[in-house]
C-alpha cells in the first residue's frame, strides 16, 4: 500500500498498542519529517518504549496504522517484520551480543544485507572510526565501559543505514560529544535518504536540547506536540509544564488584557507582563505559569527568600510571595539571607488550563519543582 504523498519518514495514525491486555499506547498520532529529530518525553511507564517498539516492529498494534516512507508497515492483521522495516534501533541497555566482537557487531547489519564478510568489516571499521572507537574493534561487550557500549550501540544503528533511527531511552545521558557526532552523521545522510530520528527520554533537558519537536506522553497518550520552545513556554496544562522544566504557579487575578500583554494584581500592585495565552479575557482568578527566567530579583513586588540553591553557572532562589512561591534564576547569589525580605519583578507569564484530568502515572507533581527539574538527573 502506498500513500499518495509521502513527505515524511514516519506517520503514526490512531495507534493503540496493548501490553498484557492494558493499552500502553492509546490513539497516538505522530509524524516525523525528513531530517527531523522528534523526542518522546514522559515519565516511566508513559508508553514511550512501547511506541518505539511498535514503530520498530517488535509489537503489533491492536488498532491504528504505522507508515514508513509511504509504505504501510503495521495495521491490525498486517505486520511487516522488523528486518524488513527501514528502522535502526538504539536499545535501552544497548543490547550488545556477548558472543560477538565490536567489529562483528557493527558489521552485522551489513552481513544481513548480503555483504561479504570482508566488505562488511571494512564498512564497520569506517563507522567505528567515525565514532572514534576503532581501537575497540576486537573487544567483547564485557570488556567495554558503559560509554563505550553506548557508542557501539550507536555504531550498529548507523550501520543499518535506515531512514529512521529510533532511540529507546538510554539509562544514562548520552555523551554529548557522541550524540553530536551521531546526529551530524544522520544529517549528513539526509540528502540521499532523508534520515530522521525518534528519541525517547524522561529527561526534559535532553529532550528540549536535542529535538526539533517534542511530544509529551502520559499514560500512553500524546498530551502535547510542538517545538521545544513551544512545549517549554506554552505548556497545555500544569502537568505538561512540570514535565518540561521547573514551574512556579501564581494564583492571581488578571485585571485586564491587551494585545500580547496582561495586567495582573499581585498583592494590590498592578503589574503589566508579557503574556500571549489565548482566552485571557475572563478576569477571574487563575493560575499563571512562571518559568525561572521569567522573573527577576529586584523590582517593586514584595517577597521573602525561602531557599537558595547554588548551581554553578546560576543560582536558584525560591521566593515566598503573596501569590505563591516563585523560583527565580539569577547569574549570582543575592546577598539576602534565607528568611529575609527581598523584592522581585515579573516579565512574562503563561495562563495554565484547568487542572489536568490526565497524569495518572502516579508521578507526584508539585507546583514548584524545587529540585530544579521535574525528575532529578540520575547518575
Amino acid at each position: 500500500m502506498h500513500e499518495p504523498v509521502a513527505d515524511h519518514v514516519l506517520r503514526v495514525h490512531g495507534l493503540t498498542v496493548d501490553y498484557d491486555g492494558v493499552a500502553a499506547v492509546r490513539k497516538v498520532d505522530l509524524t516525523v519529517g525528513r531530517g527531523e529529530v522528534v523526542a518522546l518525553l514522559g515519565p516511566s511507564g508513559s508508553g514511550k518504549s512501547t511506541l518505539l517498539h511498535a514503530v520498530a516492529g517488535f509489537r503489533s498494534p491492536s488498532s491504528g496504522e504505522i507508515w514508513l516512507h509511504g509504505h504501510l508497515v503495521a495495521a491490525p492483521g498486517h505486520n511487516v517484520p522488523p528486518e524488513r522495516r527501514d528502522v535502526g534501533v538504539v536499545f535501552q541497555n544497548y543490547a550488545l551480543w556477548p558472543h560477538l566482537s565490536v567489529l562483528d557487531t557493527v558489521a552485522y547489519p551489513a552481513r544481513r544485507r548480503g555483504t561479504g564478510r570482508t566488505h562488511a568489516r571494512a564498512e564497520a571499521l569506517l563507522i567505528l572510526q567515525l565514532l572514534d572507537i576503532a581501537r575497540l574493534a576486537d573487544r567483547r561487550p564485557a570488556e567495554l565501559s558503559g560509554g563505550e557500549q553506548q557508542r557501539v550501540g550507536l555504531a550498529r544503528a548507523l550501520a543499518r543505514r535506515a531512514a529512521l533511527s529510533v532511540f529507546d531511552e538510554p539509562p544514562a545521558h548520552l555523551d554529548t560529544h557522541v550524540r553530536g557526532l551521531f546526529l551530524e552523521e544522520l544529517r549528513a545522510r539526509q540528502h540521499d535518504s532523508g534520515t530522521a530520528a525518534l528519541y525517547a527520554t524522561h529527561d526534559a533537558e535532553e529532550a528540549l536540547g536535542l529535538a526539533d519537536r517534542v511530544a509529551l506522553l502520559d499514560a500512553g497518550r500524546i498530551i502535547q506536540l510542538g517545538s521545544a520552545e513551544q512545549v517549554y513556554a506554552q505548556p497545555v496544562d500544569l502537568w505538561a509544564a512540570t514535565l518540561t522544566g521547573p514551574a512556579s504557579v501564581l494564583t492571581t487575578r488578571v485585571v485586564r488584557t491587551d494585545a500580547d500583554h496582561c495586567t495582573l494584581d499581585v498583592a494590590g500592585i498592578e503589574v503589566r507582563v508579557g503574556c500571549r495565552s489565548p482566552g485571557l479575557s475572563d478576569p477571574a482568578v487563575r493560575r499563571l505559569l512562571v518559568r525561572p527566567g521569567w522573573a527577576r530579583l529586584g523590582g517593586d513586588l514584595p517577597g521573602r527568600l525561602r531557599a537558595v540553591w547554588y548551581r554553578g553557572p546560576h543560582t536558584d532562589h525560591l521566593v515566598d510571595t503573596p501569590v505563591g512561591d516563585v523560583l527565580i534564576r539569577a547569574p549570582g547569589a543575592v546577598p539576602t539571607r534565607v528568611g529575609e525580605r527581598l523584592s522581585w519583578s515579573l516579565h512574562r507569564t503563561w495562563a495554565l488550563a484547568a487542572p489536568a484530568t490526565h497524569g495518572q502515572t502516579g508521578t507526584q507533581l508539585r507546583p514548584v519543582a524545587s529540585t530544579g527539574w521535574s525528575e532529578p538527573p540520575r547518575r
Binding site: Y19, D20, V22, A24, S44, G45, S49, H53, A56, G57, F58, R59, S60, N79, P81, P82, E83, V87, G88, V89, F91, Q92, N93, A95, L96, W97, P98, H99, Y108, P109, R112, R113, R156, A157, A159, R160, P171
Partner: protein
C-alpha cells in the same frame, strides 16, 4: 566422605587385591566389551537426539503466543514425572507385539524390545532435562533485546536463531549434552526392561545380572570391576566439562522473560503447539494409555473394550506386601528429601562463604557416580552390618541425590542480589533476620523445588534399590520391576499406574504452592532500571 569416598576406595581395593590378571581377564571378555560398547554408543545416540529435541521445545515455547503455553511448559516435563522404567514398560505395551497399536490398527514396532526401543524411551525421558537447561539458558536473559537488535539489524527469524540465540545458548547446550550423556550411561531400568529381553546388554544391566543371578565369586569381582569402568567413563566426560562449564553457568540470574522478542505469524505458533502435541501423544500419551488399558483389561490379548474391563488387577496387587512397600517407598522418599534439603542448604551456605568449595565439587561428583557403582560400593563397605536393610537404601539415596538438592539451592543463593541483604542489614536486621526476611522469600521456590525433585527421584529409584533390597525392604519400584520380570502383564501395569499416580500426590499441592509464590511478583510492566543495574553489578562482580 563416609557416604561416598570410603565405599569407592573399597571398590578399588577389591580390584587391586584380586590382581591385575583377573581384572584383565574380565575386561577382555567379549561380553563385557559388547556391554561397554553398547553403553557408550547408546549414550552418544541419546545425547545427539535428546539435546536438539529439548532445545527445539525450549525455543518453540519461548514465545508467549503459543496457544496454551502454560500447559505445554508443564506437559513437556511429563516424562520426568513418570518413572523411566514405567515409561519403558508402557512403550512395550503400546507399540510392541500384541500391544495397543497392534490390537487397534494392527501396527506394531518389532524393535521396541531392543536397542531401538531403549534409545527411543531414553530420548523421551531425557529430552525434558535438555529442555529445562535450554529454557533456563534462554530465561537467563530477561530482556529479549538481543534478538530484537538482530531483527532491527535486518536479520530474519531463522537468521536470528542461527547467529544470536543458539550461539548464546552454547554453554547451556554443552551442559545439557554432558548431563544427558551421563544419565544415559547410568540408566539401568530402561535397558533392563526393554533391552535385556532382546539380549541387548549394557554395563548397568551386566552389573545387575552379575549380582543377582550368578553365584560365581568371579562374577562378583566382575561387577565390581564394571562398576569402576562406569565411574571412569563418567569421570572422563564430566571432569573436563565441569571445569570449563561451571564458571560460565554459575552466574546467571534467571528471570521470567519480559515477553516475546517480537510478534510472529500466528501459524508458526500453531505449528509449535501441533508439533508438541503429537510428540507428547507418541512419547507419553499413547504409552500411558496402553499401560492403563493393560491394567484394566481382564486378560492379555483381549481388545481394550469396556466389556473386557475389570479392576481385578488392582485388587490382585493391593496386597499386604505391596502396601507395605508403598509405605516404605513414601517414607524413604520423604525422609531422604527432607534430610537432603537441609544438607544441601548447609553445603550451599558453606560454599557461599568460600569454605566448602571442595565439598560442593564432591557433591556434584556423586551425582555423576553411577547408581550401580555406588550401590556395589556401599554393599561391600557396609553390607556386613546393613545388608538388605532400609537404612542402607536410605544411605544410598542420601549419597546419590545430595547434589540434586545442592544445585538449585546454590543457584538460588547466587541469584540473591547482595545489595538486598546489605540493605536489610543497614536497616537494622541481624544476619539471621536478614536471611529470614529478605533471602528466604526468594529462595522458597528453590527449596520447594529441591525437595520435590529429591522426593520424586527417590520414589523412582530402582537402580540402587534393586541391588540393595533384602527380604522385607523392597520398595514399590522394586516390586514393579520384579513383577515385570516374571512376565505378569496385568498386575505389573496396575502397579505401574499406582506408582505413577503416587507422584502426583505431593506434586500437585507443591506445584500450586510454587505458583502462588511466583504470582507475588510486583506487576509493573516497566522494568525498574535500578534493579537491572544491580543485577548487572552482581553479574560483573561474580
Amino acid at each position: 566422605m563416609v557416604l561416598v569416598v570410603l565405599p569407592v576406595a573399597r571398590l578399588v581395593e577389591i580390584v587391586v587385591r584380586e590382581g591385575a590378571g583377573t581384572s584383565k581377564l574380565i575386561l577382555s571378555s567379549p561380553e563385557v566389551r559388547t556391554a561397554a560398547v553398547n553403553s557408550v554408543g547408546l549414550s552418544v545416540a541419546v545425547m545427539l537426539l535428546a539435546v536438539p529435541l529439548g532445545t527445539a521445545m525450549a525455543v518453540g515455547l519461548r514465545h508467549s503466543d503459543v496457544p496454551g503455553r502454560a500447559f505445554w511448559r508443564v506437559a513437556v516435563l511429563l516424562p520426568v514425572v513418570v518413572p523411566e522404567f514405567v515409561l519403558g514398560y508402557s512403550w512395550t505395551q503400546a507399540y510392541g507385539r500384541a500391544g495397543f497399536t497392534d490390537a487397534l490398527v494392527g501396527v506394531h514396532w518389532q524393535g521396541v524390545l531392543g536397542p531401538g526401543g531403549v534409545l527411543a524411551v531414553l530420548v523421551a525421558s531425557t529430552a525434558p532435562v535438555a529442555y529445562l537447561l535450554a529454557a533456563v539458558g534462554l530465561a537467563a536473559r530477561a530482556e529479549p533485546d538481543l534478538e530484537r537488535a538482530a531483527r532491527a539489524s535486518g536479520a530474519s527469524g531463522t537468521t536470528v536463531l542461527r547467529t544470536v540465540t543458539l550461539p548464546l545458548l552454547r554453554p547451556s547446550l554443552a551442559a545439557a549434552s554432558v548431563l544427558v550423556f551421563v544419565l544415559s550411561l547410568q540408566s539401568f531400568a530402561v535397558p533392563q526392561v526393554m533391552g535385556a529381553p532382546a539380549g541387548f546388554t549394557t554395563l548397568t544391566t551386566k552389573i545387575y545380572a552379575d549380582l543377582s543371578f550368578a553365584s560365581d565369586p568371579l562374577s562378583f569381582v566382575e561387577a565390581v570391576a564394571l562398576a569402576l569402568v562406569l565411574v571412569l567413563l563418567t569421570a572422563a566426560v564430566v571432569a573436563p566439562a565441569d571445569a570449563t562449564l561451571s564458571p560460565r553457568l554459575r552466574v546467571t540470574r534467571v528471570a521470567e522473560p519480559a515477553g516475546a522478542p517480537f510478534s510472529r505469524r500466528p501459524s508458526a505458533s500453531r505449528w509449535v503447539a501441533a508439533g508438541l502435541g503429537s510428540y507428547l501423544v507418541v512419547a507419553v500419551g499413547l504409552p500411558l494409555l496402553a499401560l492403563l488399558s493393560a491394567a484394566l483389561t481382564r486378560a492379555v490379548g483381549l481388545p481394550p473394550r469396556p466389556s473386557n474391563w475389570t479392576l481385578d488387577n488392582f485388587c490382585l496387587v493391593i496386597d499386604q506386601r505391596s502396601i507395605e512397600a508403598l509405605g516404605r517407598s513414601v517414607g524413604l522418599a520423604v525422609l531422604a528429601a527432607s534430610v537432603l534439603v537441609v544438607i544441601g542448604g548447609c553445603v550451599a551456605l558453606l560454599e557461599h562463604r568460600r569454605f566448602g568449595r571442595g565439598v560442593a565439587t564432591m557433591s556434584i561428583l556423586t551425582l555423576a557416580l553411577p547408581g550401580s557403582t555406588l550401590a556395589v560400593a556401599l554393599l561391600i563397605t557396609y553390607g556386613r552390618w546393613l545388608a538388605g536393610s532400609l537404612v542402607l537404601i536410605l544411605v544410598a539415596y542420601l549419597a546419590k541425590l545430595w547434589a540434586l538438592a545442592h544445585r538449585p539451592i546454590t543457584g538460588a543463593l547466587d541469584r540473591l542480589v547482595p545489595e538486598e541483604l546489605y540493605a536489610a542489614r543497614a536497616s537494622g536486621a541481624t544476619r539471621l533476620t536478614a536471611a529470614r526476611t529478605v533471602a528466604l522469600r526468594p529462595m522458597a521456590p528453590a527449596l520447594l523445588g529441591a525437595w520435590l525433585v529429591c522426593f520424586l527421584t527417590a520414589l523412582h529409584e530402582v537402580t540402587m534399590s534393586s541391588l540393595l533390597y533384602g527380604p522385607g525392604s523392597e520398595t514399590l519400584a522394586v516390586i514393579v520391576l520384579n513383577s515385570q520380570e516374571l512376565g505378569r502383564i496385568g498386575p505389573t501395569a496396575a502397579l505401574s499406574v499406582l506408582l505413577t499416580l503416587l507422584m502426583a500426590v505431593p506434586a500437585l499441592p507443591l506445584w500450586v504452592l510454587s505458583r502462588r509464590l511466583r504470582l507475588r511478583r510486583p506487576a509493573d510492566t516497566v522494568p525498574d532500571p535500578t534493579r537491572r543495574e544491580n543485577a548487572q553489578h552482581a553479574r560483573a562482580r561474580g
